[in-house]
Each structure stands twice: as structure tokens, then as C-alpha cells.
């Protein structure tokens, strides 16, 4: 297959950045999108040009490294899939494909298609965990968890931290990401003691990082490769109101 690629090139954070156009040919329909970029990069190196920087690692949709804005959509034309799990058979021979980084103020560009998503880690730092020290846990089966709750917790816990929800959102909100963690822990008995503090502190950190507000358009869930449901956001909003409006029994 043949493609014309319009790719965002930007030398570093200071550079203005611009689109450049490249041609690739002889691409197998069974090649993944990232493998197609590998082919382009090999060609660029041979031509003495600078290859295109992009993030990737596992190439099976789980590490959350890859993240390209392809033809105006986070992770490309298919819903709920990472860029690395997108195959060229989903494009038409001869297509022109526009490739940009995930754009959002809290995600500064490092080079070309690589952005800094460490803001997401800082949200987790504010309480995306249960405060238990190694060595202090009781026997695992002493905390039974009803299967439906455990299954729901799992569904929320599968977020891969890719940031597609932010890139897909017109407000650059990180609500789906934060809600996934809040809801995962809210489902479990172990998550209860810190539940109020967690939601308050994580939401506050989202604001500090400069993520926008959630206006419930649902664009995030369409792209989310982990299929985090919008119900997570509803859960976060309920917890947030509850945590702010009712007295905290732990504080005398």
C-alpha cells in the first residue's frame, strides 16, 4: 500500500513546529501503524534526514506509551484502540494521513510526536492508592469482595494512562483518567478509609496541572482504549459532592 503522510515536526519544546509531507510505499496491510512509521524512519535515515520521534514500547496496547492524533482523532479512526493496535488494513491505499501529537496545555511537546504526560502521574500521587505499607496486610481472603464489585473495580482499573481522553476532549479535561482511578478504589472495601480525601485531592491536582473542566460530552470514552465507561465520571462527581458537602466522620 502507498500513503502520503502529513506529520507534525517540531525540533523541541521551543521550536514553532510545522507539518511536513512524506511518501511511503510497499506497506503491508498487516503492518501496524507504528510499523508503517518504522518503515518511514528507516527511509529517512537512509536519506540522511532526521527520523520522526514518537513514543511506543509494548506495541500491544497496554503500556500507554503510544499516542498519536491521526486524521483528527486520538489513536486514529477506530474507537477504543491504541495507536499500536491500529493496522494499515484499516486505511485505503493511497490515503493521505495526518499525524499530530496529543495536544493539550498540560502535555508540553518534547519533540515531533512525543509529549510529556507526567501531569497524569502527579494526579495519582495525590491519592490514587491505598496507604498500606509492605508487610502489614491480613490474609487475602479475609477481605471478601462481592464479584460484581470486584469486576467493576477491574473495569475501572484497566486505564493505561495514555492521555487519549485528554487529547480527545475539547476542554483538555483529564476527568476520565482521574475518575477511572477514583472509581476503581471506590468499589472496594480497602478503598473506603481514604475515599473522601482521595477524590478531593486528585481533583484539585487536575486543576493545578491546568486540565480543563468536564462538560460531559463523552468524547473521551469514544477513544479510550481501556473502554473506561462514562459511569466512572458520574461516580467521581457523586463522590466529589459527597466528600465536600457531608461532614467527614474521621475528622472530629
Amino acid at each position: 500500500m502507498r500513503f502520503t503522510l502529513r506529520i507534525w515536526r517540531q525540533k523541541n519544546a521551543q521550536d514553532q513546529g510545522r507539518f511536513e509531507t512524506y511518501e511511503v510505499d510497499g506497506i503491508s496491510p498487516d503492518a501496524s501503524f507504528l510499523e508503517m512509521l518504522d518503515v518511514l524512519n528507516e527511509k529517512l535515515i537512509h536519506e540522511g534526514k532526521d527520523p520522526v520521534a514518537f513514543d511506543h514500547d509494548c506495541r500491544e496496547g497496554i503500556c500507554g506509551s503510544c499516542g498519536l492524533f491521526i486524521n483528527g482523532r486520538a489513536h486514529g479512526p477506530l474507537p477504543n484502540i491504541t495507536t499500536c493496535r491500529l493496522y494499515m488494513r484499516h486505511f485505503k491505499d493511497g490515503d493521505t494521513i495526518t499525524i499530530e501529537p496529543f495536544r493539550a496545555k498540560p502535555f508540553p511537546i518534547i519533540k515531533d510526536l512525543v509529549v510529556d504526560r507526567s501531569a497524569l502521574d502527579r494526579i495519582i500521587q495525590k491519592g490514587g492508592y491505598i496507604s498500606v505499607n509492605t508487610g502489614s496486610a491480613p490474609d487475602a481472603n479475609s477481605i471478601p469482595v462481592p464479584k460484581p464489585a470486584a469486576d467493576r473495580a477491574f473495569d475501572y482499573a484497566t486505564c493505561i494512562g495514555c492521555g487519549a481522553c485528554v487529547a480527545a476532549c475539547k476542554n483538555a479535561s483529564a476527568m476520565l483518567f482521574t475518575a477511572a482511578k477514583v472509581s476503581h478504589l471506590a468499589m472496594l472495601p480497602q478503598g473506603q478509609p481514604e475515599r473522601r480525601q482521595r477524590v478531593k485531592r486528585m481533583v484539585a491536582q487536575m486543576d493545578i496541572e491546568g486540565f480543563g473542566h468536564c462538560s460531559n460530552t463523552g468524547a473521551c470514552a469514544v477513544e479510550c482504549p481501556a473502554k473506561i465507561p462514562l459511569a466512572a465520571i458520574a461516580q467521581l462527581q457523586r463522590d466529589f459532592i459527597w466528600a465536600n458537602l457531608t461532614p467527614d466522620p474521621q475528622i472530629k
Binding site: 503492518a31 518503515v39 502521574d121 492508592y129 496486610a137 481472603n141
Partner: protein, 660 residues
């Protein structure tokens, strides 16, 4: 030290495999006495560091996969000052995230007769009697606490309707001791360890440096004193000093180019440590996983694993007639050859990985292979779907089926999967003693980066167990024993050892950038991978290995003359990162070949064609090879030095491993 940088001049004579033998390793700090009491007694004998003193001690942890993140979090909880370095842009992206199937633990929640002893025995036997009894017993012992801790962290393991934990079976075991979180166990465990780490960051006990790659280990007067790291965004080189250095940098399966490992996984950290004096144990012990999606084209960048858990319900077969081109669904039952069930009736499709991989190779070599290349076998779920219904099978393997369909365009609901073995895991790694310390005092290796527990073959669901055992429950104790001796050491980066290491790192970068040849790093890496796969993969032979050795040498020399790495060292440069990693794979590849050549027996993953039974089973030689081969770096282009650590079996009797 400058000799390390000299690149050998191409010689006219064919390089040949050679090594010298050094003194045996007689001290590995394994305790003696009753197996069940060893770890407890050992812990009780370790030196302690008082809480107020812990704050004065700085520990460098490189890597934040399961092993590194769990260790760093636990060390932070204890009160040490911890600095973590990862080349990833977040600790949550470590390769551990991709583990699918599960984690073993001797909980006996099923009442199926499991015990610490049985997990220990299965692991020792699974490793074909090439691991230490003391270490493996300890691993089985702490496995129980891992599950407790992970549940307390809120990890959403699979549960039964009663609310209690569910388990399943895995290869090499006749019990159901594998805990899992759908097909994403590694992800959930890593996110648990990552969250614990982030909590310590928030508390100020741990600092994590993202996008920082270790390029050298600094050893001064025989002790590890710190590391040299490169900031991958700016290209700056930094010296970092610490009272101890922990390498949790994962395995080196990517030496083969194509593997199931994440693309960036590499051996640089452990290889640089090796060049600084750390012994590298059993480098040729590489696990080849039986159930991976076969390669489909030259452009391919990695191979995708289909979890071993699939062998719980999937049946492996090939057509009874070689070259049968019919669609698998139209081949009647009596014309299908369920070769694993036939050859190994008591374990059937759940034989250990090395056995299943070799069997797949054997039937393909015999001409029974399927698919366009004839290098694949079927993994068929139709019976299981009939027996349990779609819903149950979806619950168990839904995401794996989707992944398979995405990659191949075929649906496992309709047609059997096609699978073939691929490089997956490295049992070899830095040699460590019972305290997980390398032979360089102050330098530790944990997780896949060390060689410790899996012998010549790892059982499924045991790497996650080992990584977390090392990080949560072993290293935090044992490292104190060393740190207690370092209280009065003042860390400084202003030493000749740091200056030398930094200078050498800069020169290495300069050299690879200034070569300005005509071929890309990937082209070299692919070629290296092919040589290793053909000679040091599923089957090995003296002649194949000798030939491969000279090919790797030659390729390495060409690399330094012909490679082209665009850009500079003072910027974000992914090609430079790759070039440095691949250059280390060349040297490691040579050592893997030497190790495979020297071991004139077959054991576990290591099948020497000269040493097998008529049925193609491994022929071990316990009289001559019941030892760990720990290799010492002797200098550029010089034959490595072999140190043998004899393996004593006091509690289990090495037997011919049978899964029939």
C-alpha cells in the same frame, strides 16, 4: 580502564569460541539447616539499620517494573532515601505491564493439596534442577504474602461469586495456584506497585527520575558507588552517587530482535555492570514461549504472546497428514494429531514451556506445520466453547481473542489460533547471592535482571511472583545488612572512578554518532537477532554455535564501521538510545553463544542437539554440569572467565524430568 573502549581491529583468522576457567564460587550466602527455617533464621541474623540512620542512607534503584517499583516503594516506607531512574516517561510503562496470565502463590485456597513445598518442588523441577534449593524455597514461602499485600493494595484479582479469590492452573503444575486479573495481571500488579511508589514520592521518601537511562555503573575500590545516567530529553550526562545500587532493569530477550518483550527492553544496565566486574550467570538460558502469534512479514517489529493460560482450555494439534491444506474446521477429529496430549498424557496441553516449544518445533520440522510458512500449530478452543459456552470463555480470554483477531484478521471463535514459539524471558542474568547482591559489594540485581530462581526454565506465572518477592519481601531486608556497614561513608561524585565512567560514556556516544555509515541500527539488530535465533534458540549445536560466534563478531565490527545514527547527543535522540542498546546486545550475544557452547548437556530451555534422547527430550548431565555458570568479563575481545557455582541438592533428588 581505557582498554574498554578499544574496538578490536578486524582479524584475518576466524574468531573461535574460547574461555578460561576461574576459581569456583563457594560462597553464595545460602543458609544451611532445615529448608523451612532457612529464610527466617537468615533474616534474624542480618544486620539492622536504626530508623534515624536509614534517612542518612541513599539507595539508587534503576528500573521501576514490578521488581524495581516494589523495592523502591518498600525501601521508601522503611525510611531510606531512594532515587529511582527509568528510561520510560513514567514508571507505569515498564515492560511488566504487559504480563497477562497470572501470578503463582502457594495459598492452597482451593484445598487441592498445594503447599509451599509443592510450589518449591514444581519450580525446581520446572527449572530442570539448575536453581538453588534455598532461593526457590524462599520464593515459594514469600509467595503467600505477595497475594495478601496486593489484595490490600486494592488489586482487583478475579473472584468467585462468594467474594473470595479465584485461581487457575498454569503449565508445569497439576494444581490451581495461579491468581489472575483477567488477561491483565501484570498491569494490575504493576499499577499496584506504581501506586505504592507514587505514595512514597508524595511523602518525599522517593524521587523518580523519568526519561533517565543508566549508561554505566560506577565501581570504586571494589564497591558500587553510583551510576552514570543520561537525561534522554536534554542529552545531559549526570553522575549519581548512592550507598547502594539496585538494578531492576528486566531481561534481555530483545537481543533476538523479535521477541515478546516490549520494544525498548534492553540489557545495557546489566551488561555495563558486567563490564565493571559483575558476573553474568547462565546467559544462554532463554525461554522460548510456545504460544505466540507467528511472524508474518519482514517489517515486523515484535512478536505477540498469547498467554499460557490459553492452554488451560485450548487444545494444541496439527493435521495427521503433513501438508494438509484443508481449513482446520473441515479436518475431522480422527485426522487431527493432539501431539501434546499423546506424548505427555498426564500434563497434556499444560506441559512446561520448554517442552511445548520443542514439541511444536519438532512437529513442524517433521512437516506437519500449518499456515502459509508451515511454522505454526493450531490452538483450538472449539471443545471448550462447546463445554463451557461463549460467555465463560469470553470472561476468561476475551481480551486475548480480540488481540489475536486484530493482529491476524482471524477470529478464534471461528477458527483455531495459529501459534509458534518466540523468545520470551531470560532466566539468565546477573549472578547474585542469597541476599540478591552481585559479586560487587553494594550492587544488587532483582527481578528478571538476575538469574536467581528459575534454573534452566521458568514456569508460567512465576516471574511476577519472583519480581515482587525480590522487591517487597527480600531485598528490603537483605540490603540493610550491607547498608549497615556504609553509615559513615560520605557519598561523592567527585572521584576518579566517576570521572572515568563519565568520560567513557561520553566517548561511547561520540563514537557511535561519528561513525556516520550507511546502515541503520535496526538493520544490524535484525541481523543479530536472526543469527541468535537460528543458532542459540530452540536448538543449539557445537557447529552452529561456532559459526554464529564468528558471524556475531564480524557483524559487531561492521556495526562500528557502518552504522548511521542521525542527530546529536545533546537532544532527544531515539536512534542514539537504540544504537547504544544494540551495541551492548552484540557483546552479550557473544557471551550467550559461549555459554550455550560450553554447556555440553541439554537442560530446560537449553537443547543441545548432540544431547537428546531418541524422542527429542533433554539429556541432562548432572555429573558435569550441575552448576551455575557465572561469567566474568575479561576485557574487550578477550575470552571470558568461567566461575562455577556448584548446585547442591539436599532435599530433592534431581530426576529425569518427566511430564508423561
Amino acid at each position: 580502564m581505557s582498554e574498554i573502549l578499544t574496538i578490536p581491529i578486524p582479524t584475518k583468522t576466524e574468531p573461535s569460541i574460547s574461555w578460561t576457567e576461574g576459581s569456583p564460587i563457594l560462597e553464595n550466602r545460602c543458609p544451611s539447616g532445615d529448608l523451612e527455617k532457612r529464610w527466617t533464621r537468615h533474616k534474624d541474623s542480618l544486620r539492622l539499620v536504626a530508623p534515624h540512620n536509614k534517612r542518612k542512607l541513599e539507595v539508587i534503584v534503576v528500573g521501576a517494573g514490578l521488581a524495581g517499583a516494589s523495592a523502591a516503594a518498600s525501601l521508601g516506607e522503611l525510611g531510606y532515601q531512594v532515587k529511582v531512574f527509568v528510561y520510560h516517561n513514567s514508571p507505569r510503562r515498564a515492560h511488566s505491564i504487559a504480563a497477562q496470565g497470572g501470578i503463582n502463590a502457594a495459598k492452597n485456597y482451593r484445598n487441592d493439596g498445594d503447599s509451599i513445598w509443592r510450589l518449591f518442588y514444581d519450580t525446581i523441577k520446572g527449572g530442570d534442577f539448575r536453581a538453588r534449593e534455598s532461593n526457590v524455597y524462599r520464593l515459594a514461602e514469600v509467595s503467600v504474602k505477595i497475594i495478601d499485600h496486593c489484595v490490600a493494595q486494592g488489586i482487583p484479582f478475579a473472584r468467585e461469586y462468594g467474594g473470595y479469590l479465584d485461581t487457575r492452573s498454569f503449565g508445569g503444575a497439576q494444581l490451581m495456584r495461579t491468581f489472575y486479573a483477567r488477561g491483565q495481571t501484570g498491569q494490575q500488579l504493576l499499577l499496584g506497585a506504581y501506586a505504592a511508589l507514587q505514595r512514597q514520592v508524595e511523602l518525599g521518601n522517593v524521587k523518580v527520575f523519568y526519561n533517565h537511562e543508566l549508561l554505566d555503573v560506577v565501581v570504586d575500590e571494589g564497591r558500587a558507588r553510583g551510576v552514570i545516567v543520561r537525561n534522554l530529553i536534554t542529552g545531559e550526562i549526570h553522575r549519581v552517587a548512592g550507598h547502594a545500587v539496585v538494578l531492576a532493569t528486566g531481561g534481555y530477550g530483545n537481543a533476538y530482535y523479535l521477541s515478546t518483550n516490549a520494544k525498548l527492553s534492553n540489557a545495557t544496565a546489566i551488561w555495563r555492570a558486567h563490564r565493571r566486574g559483575a558476573f553474568f550467570a547462565n546467559p544462554s538460558f532463554v525461554q522460548i514461549h510456545p504460544t505466540c502469534i507467528p511472524q508474518s512479514g519482514e517489517y515486523q517489529s515484535k512478536l505477540t504472546l498469547m498467554s499460557e493460560s490459553l492452554r488451560n482450555d485450548g487444545r494444541v494439534w496439527v493435521p495427521r497428514t503433513p501438508g494438509d491444506k484443508r481449513a482446520p474446521q473441515s479436518i475431522p477429529e480422527n485426522e487431527r494429531w493432539y501431539y501434546l496430549e499423546e506424548w505427555y498424557p498426564s500434563f497434556g496441553n499444560l506441559v512446561p514451556r520448554d517442552i511445548a516449544s520443542r514439541a511444536a518445533k519438532r512437529v513442524c520440522d517433521m512437516g506437519y506445520g500449518v499456515g502459509p510458512t508451515g511454522r505454526a500449530v493450531y490452538l483450538d478452543f472449539s471443545d471448550a466453547i462447546k463445554r463451557f459456552g461463549r460467555e465463560v470463555i469470553y470472561q476468561r480470554y476475551g481480551n486475548l481473542f480480540e488481540m489475536y483477531e486484530e493482529i491476524t484478521g482471524e477470529s478464534p471463535w471461528e477458527t483455531p489460533m495459529r501459534i509458534y514459539p518466540a523468545v520470551h524471558y531470560t532466566m539468565g542474568g546477573l549472578w547474585v547471592d542469597y541476599n540478591l547482591m552481585t559479586n560487587i559489594p553494594g550492587l544488587y540485581a532483582i527481578g528478571e535482571a538476575n538469574f536467581s530462581d528459575h534454573g534452566a526454565n521458568r514456569l508460567g506465572a512465576s516471574a511476577l511472583m519472583q519480581g515482587l518477592a525480590d522487591g517487597y519481601f527480600i531485598l528490603p531486608y537483605t540490603i540493610g545488612d550491607y547498608l549497615a556497614t556504609q553509615l559513615f561513608v560520605k557519598n561523592s561524585t567527585d572521584t576518579a572512578a566517576f570521572a572515568d565512567a563519565e568520560k567513557e560514556t561520553r566517548e561511547r556516544i561520540e563514537k557511535v554518532l561519528s561513525t556516520k555509515g550507511t546502515r541503520t541500527v535496526d538493520e544490524f539488530h535484525r541481523e543479530l537477532g536472526k543469527i541468535l535465533w537460528d543458532s542459540c534458540g530452540l536448538a543449539r549445536s557445537a557447529s552452529g554455535l561456532s559459526e554464529a560466534f564468528s558471524k556475531v563478531r564480524e557483524l559487531r565490527e561492521r556495526f562500528w564501521q557502518e552504522v548511521r545514527v542521525p542527530g546529536t547527543g545533546h537532544e532527544f535522540n531515539q536512534n542514539l538510545e537504540k544504537a547504544l542498546r544494540v551495541s551492548d546486545f552484540f557483546e552479550l550475544g557473544e557471551l550467550m553463544i559461549v555459554d550455550a557452547y560450553h554447556r555440553e548437556e541439554s537442560c530446560g530451555c537449553h537443547l543441545r542437539e548432540e544431547y537428546q534422547t531418541e524422542e527429542g527430550e533433554a539429556l541432562r548431565n548432572d555429573n558435569e554440569y550441575a552448576y551455575v555458570a557465572a561469567w566474568e568479563w575479561a576485557g574487550e575481545g578477550k575470552p571470558p572467565i568461567l566461575h562455577k557455582e556448584p548446585l547442591k541438592f539436599e532435599f530433592v533428588k534431581p530426576t529425569v524430568r518427566s511430564y508423561k
